[in-house]
Subunit: 174 residues, 2 copies
């Protein structure tokens, strides 16, 4: 993931990954015969780590009216780090590479559904009410857009203002 | 832009671009001595085309209450085509390439400001009211997130539902 984020899919060879992991190329290839299999395993672990982290932080969330802004901040900061950079490099590479796309599309769908489920849970959102499901989806789409805006420059000060406004809008929609 | 969208920055050499444009490599290099200078010119033109297209479509917008959903749809579909794919490939390449980042960051800021200005104009938004500026920014960030979601699969049916809900939320915020 670090190699993907720092150097991109093109430079993320098995040799590069083995060196970063401090193992031989042979040992890496014994566990992961192809780059694709390595990347699937990495994205799955990354997705699980993200969900675990969200659940852990959920225990610290304030109750009542203060909850929505706190969750909005958590969710909208979700895609601003190394994990998002790594995933972004994979998505863009997959848009030129049918083999990579084939493994990534179902994986991305699964990780996306899981992120949605956790977001609903954290927000205490009632998806049977009209528009609520789409408002939660919009939150995660917005989070990915904010991740993009943070790719080349530090967008944190502007993002904080967008997050504050979004929390109001989301609270009203929920 | 087509080469960037289809094949990525790595494969978008001067030779590739010259061939697609039906000119010699020498002629291309006479106008654009480096890939960076070519890309800056292309992104500038792409930004201008986008703004022009938005302004043209603005004339067909309905008045009154129907205006916000129509503008929301226009803006949220903005980053779902070849131009966004091309830009995305550049952003990701720039995250590994200091030279490319240096030319792209100021350009991206300028194109982003212009897109914001047109969005405000189309929505008839009053940015002196609290939260309005951030709601418009969130719309464009959301649009980029929806662009990402459309990269590997056709996300149009889901996007249509998110757009409808977003239009309600944006209308209330404005």
């Amino acid at each position: 993931m670090e190699s993907l984020a720092e150097r991109g899919w093109h430079a993320t060879t098995m040799l590069e990954v083995a060196e970063r992991a401090g193992v031989s190329r042979g040992a890496a290839q014994h566990h992961f015969p192809t780059r694709e299999s390595l990347v699937v395993a990495a994205v799955e672990q990354l997705g699980e780590e993200q969900i675990t982290e969200l659940r852990l932080r959920a225990d610290e969330l304030p109750p009542g009216r203060a909850r929505t802004p706190a969750v909005a901040e958590m969710l909208l900061d979700l895609y601003t780090g190394v994990k998002f950079r790594a995933a972004l490099n994979l998505w863009v590479a997959a848009s030129h590479d049918a083999g990579l796309r084939e493994v990534l599309v179902p994986l991305q769908a699964r990780v996306g559904r899981e992120a949605h489920r956790v977001a609903v849970e954290l927000l205490g959102a009632d998806e049977s009410r009209p528009g609520v499901r789409e408002a939660v989806q919009a939150t995660l789409d917005l989070a990915r857009g904010l991740g993009l805006a943070n790719l080349l420059t530090d967008d944190a000060p502007r993002r904080a203002q967008v997050v504050r406004q979004w929390a109001h809008m989301l609270d009203a929609a929920l």
